[in-house]
């Protein structure tokens, strides 16, 4: 498919679309920033956590935001990129039921959780209750290595990006370069899906 990728065309085409971001850590905060830079004007973001000093190695927050709720800090940072965008921020611990409730009207949903249990939960919620909402998942983002093994797996309107292997632990932390690469692959997929709509 050939698309006219003039930036004004892109912005016009996506300006009324709504993107959901489930989790505002390394994946969610970086993905949201790229989407706002690309012209996304309506975002629904959700997270329960606070910004900590450890987060600054990869997440789109600043030193003076340590201790703040991530959703509100992220909203503030995204509005610095585009003060005209609409960011709905939910300070909430997401689960199967409220994922469906909060994100039922989005055009695309980005999975940006840390824990594998939550990744499984959102995939199941999508399959059972949000069949028409594309879900873009990060899977295997930790560490420095296996960059050339990052791939996309897609099925049933679910798109999974990552190396599929690298799990986070004390000796294999999540770091800015690889996390940002995968968050931006997810953001790119969001745009691709919205522009093809």
């Amino acid at each position: 498919m050939t698309l006219c990728l003039n930036f004004n065309f892109i912005k016009e085409k996506i300006k009324n679309r709504i993107v959901g971001i489930a989790g505002c850590g390394g994946i969610g905060s970086n993905c949201a920033a790229s989407l706002v830079r690309s012209g996304i004007q309506n975002l629904i973001i959700a997270d329960f956590d606070l910004v900590s000093e450890d987060n600054l190695n990869r997440q789109f927050y600043f030193y003076n935001q340590i201790g703040q709720k991530k959703v509100f800090a992220l909203k503030e940072n995204l509005l610095k990129i585009n003060p005209y965008c609409n960011i709905v921020a939910y300070d909430i611990f997401l689960n199967f039921e409220n994922i469906v409730e909060i994100f039922k009207n989005v055009d695309v949903l980005v999975e940006a959780f840390d824990e594998s249990f939550m990744k499984k939960t959102i995939i199941e919620a999508k399959i059972q209750h949000l069949p028409n909402v594309p879900l873009i998942v990060a899977n295997g983002v930790a560490g420095l290595f296996k960059i050339n093994e990052i791939k996309e797996i897609s099925f049933d309107n679910i798109f999974i990006f990552g190396d599929g292997i690298s799990e986070v632990n004390e000796n294999n932390p999540c770091l800015a370069p690889k996390v940002s690469i995968i968050a931006n692959m997810q953001a790119n997929k969001v745009l691709e899906l919205l522009l093809n709509k």
């Binding site: 989790g23 990744k119 899977n139 295997g140 990552g162 690298s166 986070v168 996390v179």
Partner: protein, 67 residues
Amino acid sequence: MKITINGIPELINEEKITVSDLLKIKKFTFKMIIVRINGKVINKEDYDKTYISEGDDVQVIHLISGG
């Protein structure tokens, strides 16, 4: 029977097995997985009653923490 698991052809001694059996045989003990058979996602509740047969394409996706 011959099936494909994550793109690799494998020979399984039984002729007909459930998803639960296959997970045991292959020692996929990790809980955070998505199982697809010939492209269709199998719900966890159906692992005991969904059969895998000759020629099936099985995909087991491990969900990995980190984000």
